[in-house]
């Protein structure tokens, strides 16, 4: 027993700093010793004495090892395609860098890596295929998000076929909550499919792409969609009626109204099959 007056708060803050040090517990002990140990003690063994088999640093290293091992594993599980792209060693470096820059503050590990795509884009030291890695990370993050999102009962496809012709323009479509639309720098689907199926995967050339990630039931889907579908869908998600959305696209994007009108039937048939809408409301009586 020591004679020091270390409060519980001080000892917890000290231990967490030691066991989350990026270079491990030894480095954590050096850093905290340099800055002054809690309770004014002179040596770490006055806080954690160790035993005949393990020094204080070795005991603390058990927790330090588990800290990064556990959290890096979470990132590996959530971003398998990014890991495949950059390789396991580079991925571990990126994951560790992320954990140091963005230590977890939430009780759930599900929230740990929310900022990982932005970290890869804005903060990580330059690495090969960075832009494509960001695109993959955004898709994988969205897949995690929709996995846990609240489930809505999707609209039956008959609900669309039963809409009277004269009411389509005033129809407002509420999407299921478990859906994300992503604007990406690269196409991602072929690469992700190849990795998933253990086939050879080539890094694609950059090309603006939109991907819809959605979970109508218990399975998560990801599907590339055209830029025009994306523009309409985002306006519908924002609460515009179909008539308002179509008018805005024709006005702002110089789209041939006849072409757009001709495409709508196919698009809505696809969206009905994909079960991305949860409800329809109509303007007027």
């Amino acid at each position: 027993m020591s004679d020091s007056q270390t409060t519980l708060e001080q000892i917890q803050a000290w231990m967490l700093r030691v066991v989350t040090h990026p270079q491990g517990a030894e480095a954590g002990l050096r850093a905290t010793s340099r800055d002054g140990l809690p309770g004014g003690v002179a040596r770490p063994d006055q806080l954690v004495p160790g035993n005949s088999r393990l020094t204080p640093a070795e005991q603390l290293q058990i927790y330090a090892f588990m800290y990064f091992a556990r959290l890096v594993e979470v990132l590996q599980m959530e971003y398998p395609t990014v890991r495949f792209l950059v390789g396991p060693e580079q991925f571990e470096q990126l994951a560790r860098g992320f954990l140091v820059a963005h230590p977890s503050s939430h009780y759930s590990l599900n929230r740990l890596s929310v900022a990982f795509p932005a970290y890869l884009r804005d903060e990580a030291t330059e690495f090969e295929h960075r832009t494509f890695a960001v695109a993959l990370a955004e898709v994988e993050r969205a897949m995690e998000d929709v996995t846990d999102e609240q489930r809505d009962e999707p609209l039956a496809s008959e609900a669309l076929t039963e809409i009277p012709h004269d009411r389509w323009a005033g129809a407002r479509f509420r999407p299921i909550r478990a859906m994300r639309l992503l604007e990406l720098s690269h196409p991602t689907s072929q690469f992700m499919n190849a990795v998933q199926q253990d086939r050879h995967a080539s890094v694609p050339s950059p090309e603006p792409t939109v991907v819809c990630v959605y979970r109508p039931n218990n399975i998560v889907f990801r599907k590339p969609i055209s830029a025009l579908r994306y523009r309409l869908l985002t306006r519908l998600i924002d609460g515009q009626s179909l008539g308002e959305a179509v008018e805005a696209i024709v006005m702002n994007d110089s789209i041939d109204p006849a072409f757009l009108a001709g495409s709508l039937q196919e698009w809505f048939r696809d969206w009905a099959e994909d079960q991305v809408f949860a409800a329809i409301e109509f303007d007027g009586p």
Partner: protein
């Protein structure tokens, strides 16, 4: 001996893990109850929630958390507690448990079960927080003894005495993790039987069994293999002391097929029967 709340001996249970969702729904295995990691089901509206709803309709559910951080000096997370209570209501949890530990401080969550200094200050701190959580949840909290890999120079109370006093002063229930008793005693040169002798068994409502890894210089609570013989021996002692308590097998890494898990937990049955028959099982 029954526990002081007359909480039921649920029999033999296993953890409900994602890898076994399909098997459990399809086969409705002959297991008495399931334990869930609370945090894995608190914030999801996805498949996990749907599976839990189905499983809870058929089996008793016990909630076991890893993020309450009852020993932390950070304020209690009210949002977390609200989610915990809502989940318990949704799945009809028989009881709610967590660990004697802290998981972070200063707003930084380390997502690990860090050891408490065993001092009078710590004891008063933990007792006060358990009382507040119990008031919030409206039921006794079930606190599990941890596996620890270090001790603090300031410790003035043994872990077993700390747990006994904590339980008595806060009026909480206990989850006795027999593997953790073994691991902690090995790591700190303690006698596990003496440890067990100090516990208030009328407060023990659940027992955990698990595998661990023996590194020679120390043991790690890895939950990745079969229960070791030395832990089964301690389990036999515990059965005599409790008179039969809900028992759960934890297996969280290298998770085997569900039938392997079931075969392992059924090994506990012979110790439970031996307790009824008053015979020694080695």
């Amino acid at each position: 001996m029954t526990n002081r709340w007359n909480l039921p001996d649920l029999g033999l249970g296993v953890g409900l893990r994602t890898q076994h969702f399909s098997y459990v729904l399809e086969h409705q295995p002959d297991v008495d109850w399931f334990e869930i990691i609370s945090e894995n089901f608190m914030d999801t509206g996805g498949r996990a929630e749907a599976v839990l709803e189905e499983v809870a309709a058929r089996y008793p559910i016990v909630m076991h958390g890893v993020s309450l951080s009852i020993g932390s000096t950070d304020p209690l997370d009210t949002r977390y507690l609200e989610r915990l209570r809502a989940l318990a209501d949704r799945c009809g949890a028989v009881w709610i448990g967590d660990h004697l530990c802290w998981t972070g401080v200063g707003g930084h969550n380390g997502h690990d079960l860090y050891p408490m200094p065993y001092t009078e200050e710590s004891l008063a701190h933990v007792v006060g927080r358990i009382r507040r959580v119990q008031d919030f949840l409206g039921r006794p909290l079930v606190i599990e003894n941890p596996s620890t890999y270090l001790t603090f120079a300031e410790d003035t109370i043994s872990e077993a005495e700390f747990i006994a006093r904590m339980a008595n002063d806060s009026d909480c229930a206990l989850l006795l993790d027999v593997n953790n008793v073994y691991v902690t005693c090995r790591n700190h040169d303690l006698n596990p039987t003496e440890y067990l002798d100090q516990l208030p068994y009328d407060r023990v409502v659940q027992v955990h069994l698990a595998g661990h890894t023996d590194k020679g210089t120390h043991c790690i609570d890895t939950h990745d293999d079969h229960v070791r013989d030395e832990v089964w021996s301690l389990y036999a002692e515990v059965q005599q002391c409790t008179g039969g308590t809900a028992t759960l097998l934890e297996w969280d890494d290298n998770i085997p097929e569900f039938p392997v898990l079931m075969a392992e937990v059924r090994k506990a049955e012979r110790f439970r029967q031996a307790r009824h028959e008053g015979v020694h099982v080695g």
